[in-house]
């Protein structure tokens, strides 16, 4: 029954109502899909535009910050270039016959100025680090000198300690050195000098590298003036050290 009916329809050329409805539905569906695609594309474009603008804003802000950082860096560089001009006034090789207290104090202010400038904790330049270390060592010289000077002599220990120092450095390798000792109760101050510019420095280095006993030691060797000193603490005693906080006064 059904096949014959179909044949009839084809022959007559008319389209059945059901088929027309199907076509209309398909068309509507296509329109809907196209609309959704369009909306999605438009949304994507808007989002992309928004992101681009935002990124542009961020780049602009970052560029501003970079410019500000560059200007800060340039300021720090200028300060670090200025710093050595201020601190190079005193001699770099302290005269060991006089404790470098005065020199340490003399350079304290300028170094503190140049080092304290960066409240932002900007890194110190190599020159500033160098000066800070020099200052620390001069301060420690001063501290050791004061501690030694404030001690009274413990005769028994001091005599024995002085003898140990002389005995330990009685060998031929120390011959170029002229050594004097001043031991108190926990600290010995040892001064040495030499005149031979060839054998003297080597003897001095060996002298400092082989203290008479294993104690805390702090020394200075002035190769230009061919002399130096050493503070050697009694075993189990400690030499004073520098509080780093005082370096930025």
């Amino acid at each position: 029954m059904t096949p014959s009916k179909t044949m009839d329809t084809r022959r007559s050329g008319s389209i059945p109502a059901e088929t027309t409805l199907d076509i209309e539905r398909k068309v509507r569906r296509r329109h809907a899909v196209t609309a959704i695609l369009g909306i999605t594309l438009a949304g994507g474009l808007v989002a992309s535009l928004y992101q681009t603008r935002r990124a542009a804003g961020q780049i602009e802000r970052a560029t501003g910050e970079l410019a500000s950082l560059r200007s800060g860096l340039s300021r720090v560089e200028q300060e670090s270039r200025r710093a050595p001009l201020i601190v190079q006034v005193p001699s770099r090789a302290p005269d060991v016959s006089v404790e470098p207290t005065a020199r340490a104090n003399a350079v304290a202010a300028p170094v503190a100025d140049s080092a304290a400038a960066p409240e932002t904790h900007a890194p110190l330049s190599n020159e500033q680090i160098h000066e800070r270390r020099r200052l620390a060592n001069e301060r420690r010289t001063e501290l050791c000198s004061d501690a030694h000077a404030s001690e009274t002599r413990d005769n028994q220990w001091a005599t024995q300690a002085e003898q140990s120092i002389m005995t330990a450095h009685a060998g031929p390798e120390f011959q170029p050195l002229r050594v004097t000792t001043d031991c108190r109760s926990t600290i010995c101050r040892i001064e040495f000098s030499y005149t031979d510019p060839v054998t003297g420095p080597e003897a001095a280095r060996k002298f400092l590298a082989t203290p008479a006993w294993k104690g805390s030691q702090f020394y200075y060797l002035d190769q230009e003036h061919q002399k130096g000193f050493s503070y050697l603490a009694r075993e189990s005693a400690q030499l004073p050290t520098v509080d780093r906080a005082t370096l930025s006064d």
């Binding site: 090789a93 904790h121 190599n126 020099r134 702090f218 190769q223 230009e224 520098v242 780093r244």
Partner: protein, 158 residues
Amino acid sequence: MIKRHISVIGALAIAALFSVNDAKAVDGKTYSGLQCSRLSGGSFSTYFGTVTNASSTSDMNVICPFVHDQGDINSASVQVFNRNPSVAFSCTLHYEYASGSGIFGSDEPKSLSTFGSNVQTMSFGAQTGADYVWAECTVPRTSASGVSHLVRWAVVDS
């Protein structure tokens, strides 16, 4: 999703900014005992990352470079196994600072009087004014109680 990524990147950037700005941040470093070289005596040997003295008749002196940054050393330490009851495991921390023709120097000795199976630490104080820093240690000879090791050394600087 994008927002979350931006937040994460922002947080990282802020963290990086703080870490860069804070030049006084404390920085610790630990190095294996293998950094040390034999100076004299003993028989240099290694056990994993540690240095040991394989000799049963001679103590070994070693020298170890102490690496630090541009700032000051706040503290330093050497960790060891001291297995010899009659010989002290000792280390001296040295620093030097050269300026023109002058050289400042400092020695800080430490010694362990106790021995045992546990790791022990020799602690050193701040080395303000130090340029280059190194330690010289005596690793005791091997005894019936075992082999002594220099395990590691560490610095905290800022």
